[in-house]
């Protein structure tokens, strides 16, 4: 395959800086299907590469690269090899510019990626304006907990931000009966506030007399929780709830262990599984509720695909994969399935509009199991949470039992208002 100057520069740049611009993976020689052009199908990827969420963006990118290698080894999409064009997700202004570059300059067929809701709120309307499919990994177009784009044509969005807080509240009621007082420590931005509010609403439905005695909102990226932990100790709650998802989970766990915080209270980390293999046994106790978002790498009921991915990911990156890989894999795989589905009826490489139509309601095998797109372009999948255990061959905690909850039962329906739906779905107990 002939490489352009740009691709050559990419490879040189990546080699020079040790970084991750993506060249061509190995492609099995395959004949393009009738009516399908032979040149590579360009897939745009937006991934965070700097700052607190760089690890998450990197995981998503690795998941996409693994998908592309796998697809190319199998002969591409309808015989067309996949070529990834990677751009950086940063702030809304710059990311919108990179998105436009992918569409207008690189002429990609689809854009995958987007993690920060602050960014994806801006990307959604731009995707609609530009008339090209955009499949968000982990970003929504929610303002707070309510949807701003209920009927998109081109934008496909992630699971509602507050979903894992709902799951965690349901499981709190199940595993930690008799909880009377709860403290919350969540990041000081919309995700942290929304998760905390939602968690309180749902938990109150199960235990109406529960009291929320303390709420703390440290800035995202804080590395010293000494004062926060002192406040929690003083408040003496029965349980601590947190929606931390990045390195701050590890830090607070270490600092909490130093003062024996979880010897006196239970804890729920709704999204801490984002940094699961940094939660070492030496400072992460058993008996906490821990959420892994949409993919649990050690799922005993996991598919052969998941096991292969975990094995190869560990071999290549010396880490166990976090959930973002699954969001990314699903987005890419659903695009492939939609292109093939649209081809079956069109008899030629589908237009972007045909791909979008085929995506609606499509269900594919992802790393975590079967996943689909709802009619209003929201991801449907399972979320994994459970109780931490040390009984495993790793040096970090895993969960047992593993609780699996589907977005079909614990996420507000299309067009629904969150509080109305919570009140209708979770009848008051007690």
């Amino acid at each position: 395959m002939k490489s352009s100057r740009r691709e050559f520069l990419k490879a040189v740049g990546a080699a020079a800086v040790g970084g991750g611009a993506v060249g061509f993976p190995a492609v099995a020689r395959a004949q393009a299907r009738k009516g399908v052009p032979s040149e590579p199908v360009k897939v745009g990827v937006l991934a965070i590469r700097a700052g607190i969420a760089a690890a998450v963006g990197t995981a998503g990118l690795r998941g996409t690269e693994w998908w592309a290698e796998r697809v190319n080894k199998a002969g591409g999409i309808l015989g067309r090899p996949v070529q990834l064009i990677v751009e950086e997700e940063s702030n809304p202004k710059d990311t919108v510019e990179r998105y436009r570059r992918l569409i207008l300059q690189e002429k990609v067929e689809v854009v995958l990626g987007g993690i920060s809701t602050g960014v994806t709120l801006a990307l959604g309307p731009v995707a609609e304006d530009m008339g090209a499919p955009w499949l968000s990994w982990d970003g929504t177009t929610q303002k707070g907990v309510e949807e701003t784009m209920p009927n998109p044509k081109w934008a496909f969005k992630s699971v509602d931000n507050e979903f894992e807080a709902i799951v965690a509240a349901v499981l709190t009621a199940k595993y930690f009966k008799g909880i009377k007082t709860v403290a919350g420590i969540n990041n000081d931005y919309s995700y942290g506030h929304d998760c905390w509010e939602t968690y309180q609403h749902v938990l109150r439905r199960y235990t109406p007399d529960v009291k929320f005695v303390l709420e703390l909102f440290p800035k995202l990226g804080v590395t010293d929780f000494t004062s926060h932990i002192a406040s929690i100790q003083q408040a003496k709650p029965d349980l601590l709830m947190s929606s931390f998802w990045s390195g701050d989970t590890t830090i607070i766990m270490k600092q909490a262990a130093a003062v024996g915080l979880f010897k006196t209270m239970k804890a729920v980390f709704t999204t801490g599984g984002g940094v699961h293999d940094s939660l070492k046994k030496e400072f992460t106790p058993e008996g906490l509720l821990l959420g892994y978002n949409s993919m649990y790498f050690d799922d005993p009921k996991g598919s052969a695909l998941l096991k292969q991915f975990v094995r190869e990911y560990k071999a290549k990156h010396n880490e166990y994969p976090p959930y973002e890989c699954d969001h990314a894999y699903f987005c890419a795989e659903s695009f492939k399935a939609a292109a093939e589905k649209a081809y079956a009826s069109a008899g030629q490489w589908p237009t972007k509009a045909q791909v979008v139509k085929a995506l609606e309601g499509i269900e594919v095998e992802s790393l975590s199991g079967r996943r689909s797109w709802r009619g209003d372009h929201i991801q449907m999948c399972n979320f994994f949470q459970g109780v931490t255990t040390h009984k495993n061959p790793y040096d970090f905690v895993t969960i047992n039992p593993v609780e699996v909850m589907s977005t079909k039962v614990a996420m507000k329906p299309a067009g629904g208002k969150l509080l109305d739906w919570i009140n209708a779905t979770f009848p008051l107990k007690g």
């Binding site: 520069l9 990419k10 740049g13 611009a21 700097a50 950086e88 008339g131 000081d188 931005y189």
Partner: protein, 317 residues
């Protein structure tokens, strides 16, 4: 810069939407917005000798003014957005400037940085008012009373909005040219070069510095208002200190000693960032190295390099 070069550059910019790919025309939009911003910043930096690390505050004022007007108050006129941004920028700059211009050098820089971060924190924390980290939507504005909602957004941006931004930049450039070549501009340069002598000549240093600060804030707010519609959303990072750093970088890159230097710096910054980002994942390293090289080897910026080769011509600019 000779009038011939200026004429050719203006001509190229005028015909660019007809010749260049849409994406490159779209990149000209942030360039023109930043060009307005750095023209104002350089009144303070290059002509008055005060380096502000907090001008993103005023960019944020302009951007959020546009967002509030279009999404909450139903005002879609870009002319009104620009006027309101300028007025609000001046209103907020007046007391900020009064406090800041009493200091110089690092103390001035730190004070402006502090005010910028106060506003950033306000945007981030007052969620119900500002949208917090999720920011605020900017609806498509009307241009000269024309509702252009019927045409695709990209066509709107590379056509009418492009020429509107260009007109604002040209107007801002002409006004700034008059300012820096007026007795007022001469006083600013005197204050920069020898404040003691300026004071002895009867020039009120604080008053002149205050005026330069407020004018530069108005330019930043107008540029900020122009940045909002292409993205369709504004967010607190527009007011973050690194954004203030970017515009100082643009000014240094182009050269603060020349009227057109910061504008060239904005252009090179935008297009260089675009290219480097597409090639190297760790583009910030490259930019850091470029900044270091500029400061060490070309302290007068790109225009300074030109001036070394063509001293007579550039001196006339």
């Amino acid at each position: 810069m000779s009038r011939l070069v200026l004429g050719v550059v203006t001509g190229v910019i005028l015909v660019l939407p007809l010749l260049a790919p849409a994406y490159h025309v779209l990149l000209m939009l942030p360039f023109m917005a930043y060009a307005v911003i750095v023209l104002g910043l350089n009144l303070l930096f290059g002509y008055t000798g005060l380096v502000s690390f907090g001008h993103a505050l005023f960019i944020g004022i302009g951007a959020y003014t546009g967002a509030v007007l279009t999404t909450h108050l139903g005002v879609r006129s870009l002319e009104l957005m620009l006027l309101a941004s300028a007025a609000l920028g001046a209103l907020i700059a007046a007391p900020v400037a009064a406090l800041c211009v009493r200091y110089v050098k690092i103390y001035f820089g730190m004070l402006t940085l502090a005010f910028g971060m106060v506003f950033y924190t306000f945007l981030l924390k007052f969620y119900r008012l500002t949208g917090g980290d999720e920011g605020m939507q900017v609806l498509r504005p009307t241009l000269l009373g024309q509702d252009l909602g019927g045409i695709p957004k990209t066509d709107y941006l590379v056509g009418p909005y492009y020429y509107y931004s260009l007109a604002v930049l040209v107007l801002a450039g002409l006004v700034m040219w008059r300012i820096v070549h007026s007795p007022f501009g001469l006083c600013l340069r005197t204050i920069r070069d020898n404040p003691t002598k300026a004071e002895a000549l009867g020039i009120s240093i604080v008053r002149y510095r205050w005026s330069a600060f407020v004018i530069s804030a108005v330019y930043a707010a107008v540029g900020g208002a122009l940045l909002g519609p292409p993205t369709g959303n504004v967010d607190p990072t527009l007011a973050y200190w690194t954004h203030s750093g970017n515009i100082v970088f643009m000014t240094l890159l182009g050269g603060f000693a020349n009227f057109f230097g910061p504008v060239l710096g904005a252009f090179v910054f935008i297009f260089l960032q675009d290219t480097v980002m597409a090639v190297v994942p760790y583009w910030r390293l490259i930019f850091g190295a470029i900044l270091a090289l500029v400061v060490i080897f070309a302290p007068t910026g790109l225009m300074g390099l030109v001036a070394r080769r063509r001293p007579a011509e550039v001196a006339r600019a």
